[in-house]
Amino acid sequence: MKKFLIPLIVIVGLLSSCNPNENPETVDLEVRFTPLFNNTKLSYEVEPLYQNNTGDTLIYSRSDFIFSNFKLIAEDSSIINFENTYAFIKGAEPDTFVLPLSIPSGHYVGLTFDLGLDSAINHSDPSSWWPSHPLNPTLNNLHWGWTGGYVFAALEGYYQNMGVKTPWLYHIALNENQTNINLSGSFDLTDFKTLEIKWNAEMTFSNLYSLRPVIDGDFTHSSNDNGLASKVAQNLSTSFEIGVLNDRNP
C-alpha cells in the first residue's frame, strides 16, 4: 500500500496545480491608454476638433507623456507601490505598459500616478537608460539635453486663428509641474487583466482653467509663460479616467 501512496500524492499535487479556476497569488496589470476628444477617439493631425467650452477649433498633432510613481489602492486602503516603473505614452501610437507581477490578487479601488518624474530621476544621466527603457531619450524624444531634464507632456497641434491654421505647443516640464493623477474605480485584479485609461484631450483647454491659445498663449516651454504650463498641468491632472477592464492571457 505504501508504495502507491507517494505516486498518488504526486499525481494529486500535479492535478491540483493545473486547476484552471484557481487565481494566482500575484498578478501584473497591463495598462492601455486611449486618447479621446469629446468622447470620440482622438484623431491626430488631420481632423479639426471643436472645443465646446472655449469655441476653438483645434488639431492635435502630438500628445506624448511620461508617467511615474504608480500606486494601486486596495479595498482595505493598503497601497501597492511601483517605485521603479515608468511609462512613456505616445498618444498618436499608444502602446501598452505593464505594472509588474507584484500585485496581490484582490479588489482595488484606485490607481494613482504622476505626470512627470521626481527631481532625482528627472535630472539623472539620460545615457544610463537602455534602448527600450521609457526614459531613453532616443525612444521618447522628450529630453532637453543638459538644461532641463525631461518634458513630462508634449502637447502640440494647430488652431484656427481668424481663419489661419496656427500652431500651438504646450510642453510641460520642470519639477514644479510634476502632477499627481488620482483615478477612482472598482476593479478586480484576481487574474491577469488589461486596464484602459482614457485621456480626455479636450480638457487640456477646459477643465480647472479655460484656456484659449489666441488669448492665453499658444506656446509654452514651461518658463516665462505667465503660468500657462502650470494651468495646463492642472487641467491635465483630472483629464484622465478609468476605462474598461478586460481579461487577458499573460
Binding site: S127, P137, T138, Y158, W168, L169, H221
Partner: protein, 365 residues
C-alpha cells in the same frame, strides 16, 4: 551504476558528433564589434538581426568605397559621402550621378545614424540596409541594377573572401550587401573629439563668444525681453544635436519639394524634412535639404527673421520663431553679435576625427 556510466558515455559521444559539421567545414566564427558610445550619448537601439562584427564592417567599408557598385564603375557611395567633408558631397548643393544627372536634394552626412529611426531627408527609408541599396539603383545616382552588382562582385576574389568572412558563405546577395553597408554606416560616429565634447569633459574651455552662444542656443525665444534666446535646443538638443523628427521648419510658403508629403501623399506632411544633427556643420555646407544656405550666418539669419509663419504645416515647435516683436517684425530678434555667438558655438561641434579615423577611411587607398 553501470547503466549511469554508459549513459554518460553516450551523451559525450553525442556532444562530440553534434559539433562536427557534416560537410567537414569549420564552424563560422566572427569577431563581435562593440560600438564605442561617446560620453553622454543615449544608448542606441541597434538592429538585433544584424549584430555588429568586424568582418561585416570590413565588408561594408569595402563596398562603400568601391565604384564597382555603379553602372560604369565611376562612382562609389563615398563619391557623394566623402569623409573629408563630414561624409557629404564636397560642398556641392546637389550631387551628380554617373550619367551627369543632377539630384534634387543635398547629400546628408552619415554620422551617428545608429540613433536614427528614419533615413534620408523625407524619412522614406525605415532602415539603413534598405537605404543603402537605393542610391545604387537610383537612375539619377549610381544607376546600376542590384543584380548586376551581385554579378560583378562575384567575379572579384576579394569579395568572395570578404563575404565568406562576414557570413560564413561566399554567396553574394542584395540582402547581404545591404546588411554589410548598414554595419559600416552604423559605426560612423561623431562625438567625444569636438571642442564641445572636450569642454564637457573638462579638458578645454569655451571662449567668451562661444559661451554666449551656448547660452543663446539653450535659451527659449524671447524677442521682446532680455536675455534673448535662440530656441535651438528644442529640435537640436541632447548629445546628438537632433531630435530626429521630420518637420516643416518654415523655409517656404509654397513647396517645390513636398518632402515627407511626397512619400505619404498626405497634405499634412507637405514640407516636412528630417531635422539634421548640428555636429560637424563646419564640414557640411551648404545647408538645408536643398542646400539653399551657403553659410551658417545665412542659416542664422533665416531662423532669426525669415521663418514663414504662413508655411503650411509649420511645426508647432517653430512657434517661438514667428513671434511678433516690438519693432513690428517677427522672429527671434537676435542681434548680429548674438547670431555670431551661436555660430561660434556651432563651430565647436566640429569633429576632425571623422576625417582621419582609420576605421572610416578608403580601404583601397
Amino acid at each position: 551504476m553501470i547503466f549511469f556510466k554508459r549513459l554518460i558515455s553516450v551523451l559525450w559521444l553525442f556532444l562530440i558528433f553534434s559539433c562536427i559539421d557534416p560537410n567537414g567545414k569549420k564552424p563560422h566564427v566572427t569577431t563581435p564589434y562593440s560600438l564605442p558610445i561617446p560620453q553622454g550619448f543615449p544608448q542606441p537601439a541597434l538592429p538585433n538581426d544584424n549584430i555588429l562584427t568586424e568582418e561585416s564592417i570590413i565588408l561594408g567599408r569595402l563596398l562603400f568605397y568601391d565604384p564597382i557598385l555603379s553602372l560604369d564603375s565611376s562612382q562609389s557611395c563615398s563619391s557623394c559621402h566623402n569623409p573629408s567633408f563630414g561624409f557629404t558631397d564636397n560642398g556641392k548643393i546637389y550631387s551628380t550621378g554617373v550619367d551627369g544627372s543632377i539630384g534634387t536634394r543635398n547629400s546628408m552626412p552619415l554620422h551617428n545614424l545608429a540613433w536614427s529611426k528614419r533615413f534620408v531627408w523625407d524619412g522614406a527609408m525605415p532602415s539603413l540596409r534598405e537605404q543603402a541599396l537605393e542610391p545604387i539603383q537610383n537612375p539619377t545616382e549610381m544607376k546600376e541594377n542590384i543584380l548586376n552588382v551581385v554579378g560583378k562582385l562575384e567575379n572579384q576574389p576579394l569579395y568572395e573572401q570578404a563575404f565568406n568572412a562576414a557570413y560564413g558563405d561566399p554567396e553574394i546577395s542584395p540582402d547581404k550587401i545591404g546588411l554589410a553597408l548598414e554595419q559600416f554606416m552604423l559605426i560612423i560616429l561623431s562625438g567625444g573629439a569636438s571642442k564641445f565634447d572636450k569642454v564637457n569633459a573638462g579638458i578645454e574651455s569655451f571662449t567668451t563668444e562661444e559661451q554666449l552662444g551656448v547660452q543663446l542656443f539653450n535659451a527659449e525665444s524671447n524677442p521682446n525681453g532680455s536675455p534673448k534666446g535662440g530656441d535651438c535646443f528644442h529640435c537640436h538638443g541632447g548629445a546628438l544635436f537632433t531630435n530626429n523628427t521630420i518637420v516643416n521648419n518654415g523655409l517656404d510658403s509654397v513647396f517645390t519639394d513636398l518632402g515627407k508629403g511626397g512619400i505619404t501623399k498626405l497634405e499634412v506632411d507637405n514640407g516636412k524634412f528630417k531635422t539634421p544633427s548640428l555636429r560637424n556643420l563646419a564640414y557640411t555646407p551648404p545647408y538645408m535639404h536643398d542646400g539653399r544656405f551657403q553659410t551658417l550666418e545665412e542659416v542664422m539669419e533665416f531662423y532669426n527673421s525669415e521663418v514663414r509663419s504662413n508655411s503650411p504645416n509649420l511645426a508647432p515647435g517653430m512657434t517661438g520663431f514667428i513671434q511678433s516683436h516690438s519693432n513690428g517684425s517677427q522672429g527671434l530678434n537676435l542681434s548680429l553679435s548674438e547670431r555670431q555667438a551661436i555660430v561660434a558655438f556651432l563651430n565647436t561641434l566640429t569633429d576632425t576625427q571623422i576625417e582621419t579615423d582609420t576605421l572610416y577611411q578608403n580601404p583601397f587607398n
